[in-house]
């Protein structure tokens, strides 16, 4: 996408006759969202915005009037008053009244937002540098777990200096994931938020709030989504190098469709467990491994395996990735490395993914070492 063409488009939009549609394209305001909470927050935002505009018109109006009328060049002689207790009382009391009238609706909305009782289901959200993990802790989806990372296509396009055409992504560039969080509509969903390393913040503007995910502690929040749809957001708390690249995607489905999705996911989990028992070919492992690598490892170790030394070591040609015995390699991927950015992937990837990615790392970029089978991982666990 060329800079000049977008610039031109914008000028066109700003000055064209159908400005109404143009404004819709270039969002200027907070979203009204898709929940009662987000609507309430939007209404609150607009009330206070208009109060500020009204005050601004009065205050700046008086000031600008004075600036034009009370000029030396118009021959005005300066008055010498410098006090008026009445006026000072008036402009202390009026703001207080305005503030109280703002505080009342704000308090009402806040109390409603913090009431997590009577939830229909609970989902645990864990922020990890730089992905989200969702665990369904109750209802029929209990035990399901989704790890949600930036979509591989976007991940490729966002590499430094990548000459990618971002327009193919429409309005979802950097806002798409490999596995979204799927939730039912019309249910009160309680979220438990936590983090595994640093502080993250889980934010979907359409739901009307963000909440910090803090390592060691759990926060809670809730939502009821009435409209089926795909709702996008991002991590909002600076969490390190790839803070910009951990989107949140929530897919809200009608209860029946949601139930079908849950059943499908449970079947898929069983299938993976079964496929972990069979012997995989090297080609299968390499193909799967490359995809897993791009999603989970490429951010630090780089797509070409060169890493970003000294912080993120190269894998191409590394002693560990080319050693005949893969035990050390399996161990570091499975268990992470304490005191470094290397996370334990034990709970993030399944046996097949782990075997595939380790095999890929051992046989890509000129590395030539043994392959690893899902069964090997299972045995090591």
């Amino acid at each position: 996408m060329s800079a000049s063409s977008r610039w031109y488009q914008l000028l066109l939009a700003l000055f064209s006759l159908n400005a109404g549609t143009a404004v819709a394209d270039y969002a200027l305001n907070m979203t009204q969202g898709v929940t009662r909470t987000s609507q309430a927050v939007y209404d609150l935002h607009m009330i206070i915005f208009w109060i500020c505009v009204a005050i601004g018109i009065v205050v700046f109006g008086v000031m600008i009037y004075a600036m034009f009328r009370h000029r030396k060049s118009r021959g005005v002689k300066a008055a010498q008053f410098h006090e008026s207790t009445t006026m000072e009382l008036v402009w202390t009391l009026i703001p207080i009244i305005i503030l109280v009238s703002m505080a009342i609706p704000a308090t009402r909305v806040l109390l409603a937002m913090e009431d997590t009782s009577d939830a229909d289901m609970t989902i645990k959200v864990t922020g990890i540098q730089w992905k989200w993990k969702y665990d369904y802790v109750d209802t029929e989806a209990e035990g399901l777990s989704v790890v949600s990372s930036l979509h591989p296509d976007h991940n490729e396009a966002r590499q430094l200096g990548a000459d990618a055409d971002l327009t193919v992504f429409g309005d979802t560039y950097l806002l798409d994931v490999d596995n979204p969080l799927v939730v039912p509509t019309g249910k009160k969903i309680r979220f438990l938020l936590t983090a595994a390393d640093v502080i993250h913040s889980w934010w979907v503007p359409d739901l009307g709030w963000k909440k910090d995910a803090i390592p060691g502690f759990i926060n809670e929040s809730w939502t009821i989504i009435d409209q089926p749809g795909v709702y996008r957001g991002q991590c909002a708390e600076l969490c390190g190098r790839d803070h910009a690249f951990m989107p949140v995607v929530v897919v809200a489905k009608e209860p029946a469709e949601y139930a079908a999705w849950v059943a499908e996911q449970k079947q898929a989990a069983v299938d993976i467990a079964n496929s972990a028992d069979r012997v995989w070919t090297k080609a299968e492992l390499m193909a799967k491994g490359e995809a897993v690598y791009q999603t989970n490892c490429a951010a630090c170790h780089q797509p070409n395996g060169q890493g970003l030394p000294p912080v993120f070591p190269a894998l191409a040609g590394s002693a560990m990735a080319t050693a005949e015995d893969p035990a050390a390699h399996i161990d570091i991927v499975l268990n992470g490395k304490a005191g470094s950015a290397m996370t334990a992937y034990r709970d993030i990837l399944n046996d097949v993914d782990l075997a595939a990615v380790i095999t890929y790392e051992r046989n890509a970029w000129g590395n030539q070492a043994s392959i690893v089978q899902p069964a090997d991982i299972k045995a090591t666990r």
Binding site: I128, T194, I218, A338, A344
Partner: protein
Amino acid sequence: MTGHKTTFFKIALISVAMFGFGYLLVPLYDVFCEITGLNGKTGQIDATQATAVYQPDLTRTITVQFIANHNAAMPWEFAPAVNRLQVHPGKLYTTHYIAQNQTGNDMTAQAVPSVAPTAASRYFDKTECFCFSQQHLKAGARKQMPLQFVIDPKIPDRIQTVTLAYSLFDVTQPAN
């Protein structure tokens, strides 16, 4: 000149005191957390006391959810034995979490509790918990870690679900 000196030392003293105040905020924050129940600062009492003090309220049932979290580089298997219990306030319950150290090294862990909603933690009293001390596991070892608790019958009616989460941190001292 002496006037300057006196003023100087007075103000310098304020700034030194404020440095101390920064550190004083640490215990103050703990007190604040205890009062509000922030950060899962639950009550801790012993079992005989608990049965003596509380009258079980069999008319009320509260769901207690158990959650296990791992800190990033924590490779242990760690999970609650049951995911939830239906409990009556005032009655003593025992459950446990299961931990297994699957690495080839001896390790030490610390579990950090957290309660949601925050308002519930004041009414959540533990009589026994693996989070009270560090947990050591030899390479490959597995352990059932007990947890005994009672919920204060004074817990507000609107709280029907209490979530108790533990985050497991690796606190193994690096070998010399």
